[in-house]
């Protein structure tokens, strides 16, 4: 057994799998098709198809009494949405909430993620990641309800702020607070991943060129971490835009676009009108995603 002895060469073993593999090697497009078939069927045909059917139905109406769908194309639903001021109000309110939640989460997540990625010792880093991930497993509903308790008249938040009625109570502020709470891990994780990839030498270089910590953060860290923040914002923004349950629990009388969609499908059984309403968040998100793709944020997800 030495390297010098000659070998019979590559063994002739060529089972069907091997022949298929060789054939696939010669036909890259067949390989690609095999890879894409199932995903395209699922997402491209089934999922997009479902969405298409949904939006087609936005042009139908429902018989108000029997609840039967009337399949005659009409723009009535959209006309109502555009002319009735309440839909504009609710849309703007929803976007406002989604933006506010995103900003609050970014503001909280940035220093936390920075601490985790660049300051904490590696052994702590691991534990902190666990600490951020764990709440994802505590039920969304339970957490929202815990906040209802905390925000109650005379509850812990009031107490913290010095007495009954000092807290925000239930309403728009509470909605933003609770949604920020619920989606915070979805913001921390991408930013943390982004910062972890940021070479320490850039921070050194900035200090070397005379910048203090604050300046380095503003001029180097922040711009570089923007795609990660945007990636996180896809979660915070879209989850807030579509939420209707947390709003019901702590929102007081607040209604968001999700509540309207839900009320019209889950309650009023008016699928066409729901579908028409649903085009609002979908349009907002699609515009958002297309804009975001340019920033490279989709790669940071």
């Amino acid at each position: 057994m030495s390297l010098l002895s000659t070998d019979a060469g590559r063994s002739g073993s060529s089972g069907p799998a091997r022949r298929l593999a060789a054939w696939l090697h010669r036909h890259p497009s067949a390989r690609l098709s095999a890879l894409l078939s199932a995903p395209v069927l699922w997402l491209g045909v089934a999922y997009l198809g479902s969405l298409a059917v949904l939006f087609l139905s936005a042009f139908w109406t429902v018989n108000s009494f029997t609840g039967e769908v009337v399949r005659q194309p009409t723009l009535d639903n959209f006309r109502t949405i555009v002319t009735d001021a309440v839909y504009r109000t609710v849309t703007l309110r929803s976007i406002g909430v989604a933006v506010a939640v995103t900003l609050v989460d970014a503001a909280i997540a940035l220093p936390m993620a920075f601490f985790m990625a660049k300051v904490a010792a590696p052994r702590w880093r691991r534990l902190l990641v666990v600490a951020i991930l764990t709440p994802l497993w505590a039920s969304y509903l339970v957490k929202a309800y815990a906040w209802r308790v905390m925000l109650a008249n005379g509850g812990p938040v009031d107490w913290l702020l010095g007495g009954d009625g000092n807290g925000p109570g239930y309403g728009l502020t509470a909605t933003i607070l609770v949604l920020s709470y619920l989606w915070l891990p979805y913001m921390i994780l991408p930013i943390y991943a982004g910062l972890e990839r940021l070479p320490d030498s850039l921070l050194d270089a900035s200090a070397d060129l005379g910048a203090r910590a604050g300046r380095t953060f503003r001029s180097v860290v922040l711009p570089i971490v923007v795609p990660a923040v945007v990636a996180g914002s896809i979660f915070t923004f879209s989850l807030s835009l579509g939420d209707y349950i947390a709003v019901q629990i702590v929102g007081g009388k607040t209604q968001l676009i999700g509540n309207l969609v839900y009320a019209n499908i889950g309650a009023a059984n008016n699928l066409p009108f729901s579908a028409a309403l649903a085009t609002i968040p979908v349009l907002i998100m699609v515009v958002y995603l297309v804009a975001v793709r340019r920033s490279g944020a989709l790669e940071e997800l």
Binding site: M1, L3, G9, S11, R18, A21
Partner: protein, 359 residues
């Protein structure tokens, strides 16, 4: 003639608009240590990948030992590769990495282990069997990659800048080892490098690549001493290029000529000059030698050698009337080098060492 180990005919490969390989014809003999040398982006890696089968050529034919393998998959070719980044499997330990190819070919457990251990011994890595690649230094990794390829006893071994990532010291050691192993196992090595020195010292033959084509193929001596073009002269080692007025003034000939710095003997004026730098150093002039005079512009001490930049009296003030000459620091003490500056000198070289280049 014997069937060559590798024959490439009219090989081309484009990526989108870029023609990475623009027509390569080449034969590599069995057992040869063959190097591919060329600047970054000249298509060396792509040719290697076409031979291994990782890429399908846009046109042209790849033959291995006489058989057309152009459209065969890599796993159907009797060729192994040592990758530039080693490409060791990080999730396997050293011995599993080396055994991989044998396992795939269903070689029995016992034989597999024996052969793998023999291969590790050949690269002087006994006792490292159970380390993970991450626990090895660059040089050790490189040797594992080599063992992993060698253990399969391929007809041809392809090596893509295997020493590129190592530091000088380690690199020189590995060069020696590689050469030794190749002699031992006697298989064909196709060795990609962008280091001229490496190619010159290790190879039986060298192909110099430029922009997807081969500019010249030959033994190290041929390529170094008889460069076929200005590109080859400039890329393989340092070369002084004399052309036009300067060539006429110095050589008395029209055209474009290359002279290697080490071919130029250098002597200071008698008596007055610094030590070890008198006319003696010039030696006797042979009948056909070329002699020129000039003045030292710069003298850089580099340990083993000193590099002189000399402005020629003939041809000045043309800025190209300048020659670089190398002098081995045989007897000269390094402190002397400082005093060489601005000294008048005589240069002398054999006429045949001024190589005429095509214009």
């Amino acid at each position: 003639m014997e069937t060559p180990a590798i024959r490439l005919t009219g090989l081309r490969k484009s990526f989108g608009g870029v023609e990475a390989v623009a027509g390569v014809d080449l034969e590599i003999a069995d057992g040869e240590f063959f190097s591919m040398l060329g600047p970054s982006g000249s298509g060396k890696t792509t040719v290697l990948r076409l031979i291994a089968g990782f890429e399908l050529p846009t046109s042209g034919v790849v033959e291995l030992a006489g058989a057309d393998v152009t459209r065969r998959a890599p796993f159907e070719r009797d060729v192994n590769t040592v990758f530039q980044d080693y490409a060791l499997f990080p999730h396997m330990d050293v011995i599993d990495n080396v055994e991989y190819g044998l396992k795939i070919r269903k070689v029995g457990r016992r034989e597999r282990r024996e052969r793998a251990e023999a291969a590790l011994a050949a690269v002087r890595l006994e006792g490292y069997s159970h380390r993970r690649p991450g626990q090895l230094s660059g040089g050790q990794r490189q040797r594992v990659a080599l063992a992993r390829a060698l253990v399969n006893r391929p007809k041809v071994l392809l090596l893509d800048e295997p020493l590129g990532a190592l530091d000088l010291k380690l690199r020189e050691e590995m060069q020696l080892e590689l050469k030794q192993i190749q002699r031992q196992v006697g298989i064909t090595f196709v060795f990609v490098t962008h280091d001229q020195q490496e190619a010159l010292t290790m190879s039986d033959r060298i192909a110099v690549f430029n922009a997807g084509r081969i500019e010249q193929v030959g033994t190290p001596a041929e390529v170094y001493d008889q460069p076929g073009s200005a590109f080859v002269a400039g890329f393989v080692g340092t070369a002084n290029v004399l052309r036009d007025k300067v060539a006429r003034a110095v050589l008395g000939e029209d055209g474009c000529f290359a002279i290697r710095p080490e071919k130029i003997a250098l002597g200071g004026p008698a008596g007055s000059g610094p030590a070890g730098f008198g006319p003696a150093e010039l030696g006797e002039a042979a009948p056909d030698d070329v002699t020129a005079t000039g003045r030292v512009v710069e003298a850089v001490y580099a340990g083993a050698t000193t590099r002189f930049v000399v402005r020629l009296d003939a041809g000045s003030p043309d800025s190209t009337a300048q020659l670089v000459a190398l002098q081995q620091n045989l007897r000269t003490s390094s402190v002397d080098v400082q005093s060489y500056r601005d000294t008048p000198v005589t240069l002398r070289w054999r006429r045949e060492h001024a190589i005429r280049l095509p214009d």
